[in-house]
Amino acid sequence: MSARVDLLERSWADRPGFIGWVTTVDHKRVARRYIATALVFFVLAGVLALVMRTQLGMSENRLIGPDQYNQMFSMHGSAMMFLFAVPIMEAVAVYVVPLMVGTRNISFPRLNAFSYWIYLFGGVMIFIAFVLDIGPEAGWTGYVPLSSSDFSPGKRTDFWAQMITFTEVAALCVAVEIVATVMTMRAPGMTLSRIPLFVWSMLVTSFMVIFAMPAVMLASSFLITDRLVGTQFYNAAEGGDPLLWQHLFWFFGHPEVYIIFMPALGMISSIVETFSRRPIFAYTPMVMALVATGFLAFGLWVHHMFATGLPPMGNSFYTAASMMIAVPSGLQIFCWIATIATGRPRFAVPMLFVMGFFALFVLGGLTGVMLASVPLDLQVHDTYFVVAHFHYVLIGGAVFPLMGALYFWFPKMTGRMLGETLGRWQFWLFFIGFNVTFFPMHLLGLMGMPRRVYTYQAGLGWDLPNLVATLGSYLMAISVLVLVFNLWRSVRRGEPAPDDPWGAPDLLWATTSPPPSYNFERMPVVTGRHPLWVNADGDPRIDLPVLDGVRDDRREVLLSTPVDAIPVCRWALPDPSIWPLWSALALTVLFVWSIFDQWGVVWGAIPAAITFTIWFWPKRSDVSLRSDE
């Protein structure tokens, strides 16, 4: 027994200290730093929001001028969407998915490390640009012609467009890794109909990333080339079209919000299932709902363009499609409530956040249905009504589940429980603060207040709701401080967590908290949807079926068929490596250089090609990739 553990520890260990930190390819270590970094960006973007809310607390306020304000809301939106929301959801998946499917690492460990560095460098670049007063100024949506070189001179928009390149490369890498992990690395016996709902949600999300991100890649690349080398994509005078930007951006932008939201749906299922102490009601319809949402999400983007003068018949089609996506969501709400109703619910902190999700996401979803209606949208589009809507669905629908998931999975990730009392305080502060901030904004929009304004006139009745919203934002800020404090304190002095503190059903909880570097001592096998709950005889499981034969003396996993999870082969995964970091640096140099000089693309490609080649070149030190002798 312990000989096996010793071998595993040696095969899967990282080198000690700083070298180990920069060369690790352990999905858990990479995911934890991804999550921590995303939370830093969340706080930074939140501070920007606080400053904006302070400016808007009073009419005709002169705290901040228009140029600074415009950069702030552009940074707030861009950082929240590109540097926080998508990366943190993917990061949680990078941690959880390999454990839930019963394997030892993610499918492309070095690519995973690379994606973190690229994400970090892109985020750092844009914040440096902001601090140097060359931050983006055209919103997170960067509409042309405002973002073209005529109306947005200098490097501001170029930095923004290139930041998109960085973050989209990172997101695409992770998406491919998750698809490959879920399709080939599942524990034998984990057929498609036995996959946990969170894994399903991440699989569908990853496909959405794969099909949506190319659109923003094209859009931002066209913008960069228009600005830097004179292409005419968006120039009406030479056959281009400003609406081309909107079509390409929103073809990405609408699925983007579902990319953020769908992992949260998976988190809700995990939490509801565990804390209702029964399987989710109607598993198959729940899976179909996720898949349907994933497909439908691609057919809605024109609802962001109802005011652009497109043919009314076309607009009406998008009304119908945009409303219909509420159907799978509605189905899921029903199934979760049914699960709670027929289970034995208990309300630990993760469940509190789920309750918050219900209260807030349903409201946001309903205002979404309102926005789907063309005539109504023509009134509230581009007003604070929309700001209210998307914060209800993004914070209510994604951040609340994320916070619940953090409380839920923190014990597994760190080996300590996150403080329960502080958690309750944090929840209520956040819930109340959120509603005080954003509910009045529905009213503001209906009363005529447009978005993206650095100030507003007195006497329009907007003063009081704005003041209330500002006060609410301070309450939210306090709650985030409580969260940060709770995280910091619990990591150091939290109650030690057992393997399975919540009595949950999936394989994630079949190993220690935190898991060893190799996740599972022996490769698990599953015979049902809830491996840790019930075996075929109806008794709670006290043993876990496992397979022998996967090597301990090198990094090896077991691959199985995509549908039925029948073992196919053993597969060696790579050892730690510094080359993902060097490659990310080389690519960063290429990306940043090309903002200033188009030849940067060519010259920068040389070091990038070298680092990538060395990355893939088999090295003597690469024990694992040497084959069987």
Binding site: G65, P66, D67, A138, Y143, L146, F151, A236, A237, D241, P242, L243, R277, R278, P279, F281, A282, A307, T308, G309, P312, N315, S316, T319, M323, V327, G330, L331, F334, C335, I337, I340, A341, T342, R344, F358, L366, M370, A372, S373, V374, P375, L376, L378, Q379, H381, D382, L443, L446, M447, G448, P450, R451, V453, L460, G461, L464, H530, V534, G538
Partner: protein
């Protein structure tokens, strides 16, 4: 109860704001009324669904329950039937919403216009051209729109630079002004009054200060306003105003602004022929008062930083003279 009484002024304020000059909740035209009808249906229906969902959740949490087992409950046929019924209800509700939206949308387009206006949006003001089959009856003004009650106006929308959005919530939904495109909205006002519009598509530094002053009057008042606008600029009378006119035409002013009937023919900035008859300055950034006009002239960047009007260095006397001239352009 004390808390309720404290909230009363809050509600009163909110109610007043709901009926404000830029509120979509106090519709004053056919188009905004059609939209308001959709809003009323949806807000009541959605609120009901919301409360129902929260109620179901509350029931789920607090209901009395027999000992539930881990398996078997999934196959509960009653729950499955309830799920099916719920999906049917949701689909039905959404279909109803789609239908009323489609019908309301049709009311927003078309109708034979009695009046045609062409608005060209620029950073950060509105050029407003009243069109007519007779060229001699066309005129240009800026940042204001006057409409006759009970007549349908077709507002053609173009952009001179970036994307803007024309929005007068009391009268109709919004429509973007996009370079290279020509869009249009129809407005049939049904109530006299003053309304406020505002650009609703982020268009740069002074997007926040790009308002439109809209006035709806009876037809007779409208026609007399049109006649007045068609006249060339009033000639300056006082010595100061005469000097102001001369300064205007010989310094930077005339290179950007037009005053019809004078040599000033610049087309970069707003037409100022009847400036003093307007109610606001600088697209709603300032009221149309002598002091404000004076402050604007001396430093346009202070109330509207980043706007495209430069501060022309003028002595206080010169500045005063120009203001006198401009205040006479009724």
């Amino acid at each position: 109860m004390k808390p309720m009484r404290a909230l009363l002024p809050v509600f009163a304020m909110l109610l007043a704001a709901c009926g404000g000059v830029q509120s979509s909740l106090a519709p004053a035209a056919d188009q905004s009324k059609a939209i308001d009808h959709v809003w009323q249906v949806m807000v009541w229906a959605c609120s009901t669904i919301y409360l129902f969902t929260l109620g179901a959740l509350a029931w789920a949490i607090w209901r009395r329950r027999a000992i539930a087992t881990r398996e078997g409950v999934s196959r509960d046929p009653m729950l499955s039937r309830a799920l099916f019924a719920w999906v049917v209800l949701v689909v039905g509700l959404l279909t109803w919403f789609v239908a009323i939206s489609f019908l309301a949308d049709r009311r927003l387009h078309g109708g034979t216009p009695d009046l045609e206006v062409r608005i060209t949006a620029k950073q950060w003001w509105w050029q407003v051209e009243y069109l007519s089959p007779e060229p001699a009856r066309q005129f240009i003004t800026a940042n204001e729109l006057r409409l006759p009650r009970d007549r349908t106006a077709r507002i053609e929308l173009r952009s001179g630079d970036v994307i803007h959005s024309f929005w007068v919530p009391s009268l109709s939904g919004k429509e973007d002004l996009i370079p290279g495109y020509t869009n249009a909205v129809f407005i049939t006002p049904r109530r006299d009054g003053s309304f406020r519009g505002q650009c609703a598509e982020f268009c740069g530094l002074q997007h926040a200060h790009m308002a439109l002053d809209v006035q709806v009057t009876d037809e007779a008042t409208f026609r007399s306003w049109v006649s007045q606008q068609l006249r060339p600029a009033s000639s300056p009378v006082t010595a100061s105003a005469l000097r102001g006119a001369e300064l205007f035409n010989t310094t930077a002013c005339a290179s950007c602004h037009t005053v019809r009937g004078t040599p000033a023919g610049g087309r970069v900035g707003p037409d100022l022929t009847h400036l003093a008859s307007r109610r606001t300055l600088a697209a709603g950034a300032l009221p149309m008062r002598r002091d404000d006009l004076s402050k604007w002239l001396d430093d346009p960047q202070h109330p509207k930083p980043g706007n495209l009007m430069p501060a022309v260095p003028l002595s206080p006397d010169d500045s005063n003279a120009i203001v006198d001239y401009l205040m006479g352009l009724k």
